[in-house]
Symmetry: C2
Subunit: 404 residues, 2 copies
């Protein structure tokens, strides 16, 4: 459902160019992605809210905030996050940026970068500039290989594509992402890059990205940990012949907004499915809450509970842990009004176990790969959905010895 590999070849965005390298930062796989775009391509971005952001995140944020921002190229490396590397980290980004601005004859402010990998290790900028200057790309213009080159503990590359109508024009959209652990984003998330050819201003793109981010990338969690490098960029080559879109409220834009939202949710779900060690995807919906924040807090309290996630990993019908997780959200609720459903199975009602509760049915349901939990709070009308995965012994094995 989530991997549109069949349709991937049909989509092309003129002027969008991928080069994929083995720079040597990682031992024996592609680890460097260089993306070039036509002059004056539009750009928008959302980033981690972490107070220990990486050098690239600091640099990208500054450039996005400039008036008349635009992008000519983007370089992404895996294997090193260039985070908590102080002044040396900033200098490394500047050196790479300067090199690329000379190479592509553009302003330094039109060069963007991301880094993902180990925190606290120095990034050697020469390794990247040398590679781009002298090495031949391992692959060219392959979305799949581009997605592969930014993987860390991911087990599969994450990408998706779509076409969408704007008036009489047909715009193309391509999204790639990476992420598997350290996933509980706040504002931006992991690495995700979405490209289109719709002729649209950076300002309008930014508004669309910010709006859609909350119910997509900001509604997933693997382990409640938030990265220092979370970045999501929405970029347009502006090559489609439509008249430049400068108005967010343009009613013809609704399809495009919906399309971007779907692409973001699709990539977000791919990340959760590939959560470190995960065997199951869990969709948690809290409905009839007093307000949106309350629904969101309760949903995340459940989604981040190790005890809920281990019970689901063990296919153990220990639904009482959902009650515990609702309780520790400290949201104002009346426990006698809560209804809890797993799929279609009502398990709790009126502040206690449902009279027709069947442990056998629930245990059977828990064998599914996709678990849907729905909590009716009966306090109002707002709802929120959060996506997460189960917590298995493999998560521990992956992370107890990540660097070796």
């Amino acid at each position: 459902m989530l991997k549109n590999k069949d349709t991937i070849k049909k989509i092309q965005i003129k002027g969008l160019d991928f080069k994929i390298f083995k720079s040597g930062i990682k031992k024996n796989s592609t680890d460097l992605l260089l993306i070039t775009l036509p002059k004056f391509s539009s750009i928008s971005g959302v980033f981690t809210k972490s107070n220990t952001p990486s050098a690239s995140v600091i640099d990208c944020k500054n450039k996005i905030n400039l008036k008349n921002n635009s992008i000519r190229c983007l370089v992404v490396n895996s294997g090193n996050a260039n985070a908590f590397t102080g002044i040396k980290g900033i200098k490394a980004v500047n050196k790479i940026t300067k090199f690329l601005s000379t190479l592509y004859n553009c302003n330094e402010n039109e060069v963007y970068s991301s880094s993902t990998g180990v925190i606290g290790e120095e990034l050697n900028p020469s390794q990247i500039t040398y590679c781009i200057k002298n090495k031949r790309p391992a692959f060219v213009n392959s979305i799949k290989e581009a997605a592969k080159s930014i993987m860390t503990t991911d087990t599969f590359p994450k990408y998706t594509t779509s076409k969408v109508k704007y008036k009489n024009f047909e715009a193309n959209v391509i999204g790639i992402a990476k992420g598997s652990g350290m996933i509980a984003p706040n504002m931006g998330t992991m690495l995700a890059y979405i490209f289109t050819d719709l002729n649209i201003s950076s300002k309008v793109l930014q508004k669309i990205l910010t709006n859609e981010n909350d119910r997509t990338f900001n509604s997933i969690t693997v382990d409640s940990d938030t990265s220092t490098s979370d970045t999501c960029l929405l970029i347009s080559t502006n090559q489609l012949k439509n008249r430049k879109i400068n108005n967010f409220s343009d009613k013809f834009l609704n399809n495009f907004k919906k399309c971007i939202s779907n692409i973001m949710l699709n990539l977000a779900k791919q990340i959760v499915i590939d959560g470190e060690g995960a065997k199951k995807i869990i969709e948690i919906t809290v409905k009839n809450a007093k307000n949106v924040n309350s629904a969101k807090n309760i949903a995340f309290s459940i989604a981040n509970s190790p005890l809920v996630k281990t019970a689901i990993a063990g296919e153990d019908a220990n639904w009482g842990r959902i009650v515990m997780a609702i309780g520790k959200s400290y949201e104002k609720i009346d426990q006698n009004k809560i209804k809890i459903r797993f799929g279609k199975h009502l398990v709790a009602k009126n502040g206690m176990k449902y009279s027709k509760y069947s442990e056998k049915n629930l245990t059977e349901y828990l064998k599914n790969k996709e678990i849907k939990i729905s909590i009716d709070i009966s306090m109002g009308k707002q709802k929120w959905t959060v996506y997460t995965c189960d917590l298995t012994e493999k998560y521990i094995r992956i992370n107890a010895d990540y660097r070796s």
Copy 2:
């Protein structure tokens, strides 16, 4: 260091009486603890802030809040939490309370109870009243066996004792506790009962308990999950011949306050050491923070990070994850001012890896059973310490199939 088993026999509190039963709630171990006290014993308590509290917690809270509260007996069962059991749960508590008030010829408000175990399962009150009425205790007046009877996934019973001077009198203090998973309390915590014979009002006891709770039981976390049943009671038989203490500011009371604080911290650390699947205890101190809340939030952000805890389980010197966890606390900090120490080893300074950092030394240090992490934020003068444990595959194994 934490288990004062050698001194345990020397401490006796006149009129404090334990009876330990096998009621049958759990298959083949002691699961019921009945504690009786002299008439008009003083009582104070702190409880879970969960919004889905158990029936016993609701009942205890109501009774503690009465004017002229006092305690005559306390009954604790393991194997069933009597939480999310609705009106039936409340009725079960009432039935047990009524039975004991008749048995001990006291007011129902002088009977307290706690339950720990599975959430959402009905508790049969007759099983408890029948047992007390008809069965012979398996043990009498054994602190160790009392602590054993309230265990769930605990691997050892938790208790400690002390003597403390008040003017010319010597007061005795005994504490027992249980807890191993679902440990990230807020206000009260797990089950902990502390007894003394100092002649002191409930009001003063309550103030001492509330004051000391924040830096002891509220500063530990095993898995960030908070129980529906967390309860800590501080009780006095008032049998010591000192004149009744009604003034919290009584300067002769300082030793006693310090003693209670030590007992609470000792029990809290025993709980963390016995954290489900834990092999290591981790002490995290955040110092020179702008204010106490900021220090506390950063310390808990580190202590609750699965990625920090798995790295320590794997003895992997991946200190960058500490940086990540500081960042995701969203506290206002300057990452260029942070210093990070493991024991005496400085690993980060000036926003980057310390120039003399030795991975070999850090890896060696991580082999210890007790890991001390210190973060200097350089933003002010406040500090906070939080205690936690590592996160191992065993935690998953224990919790993926807790009920079978």
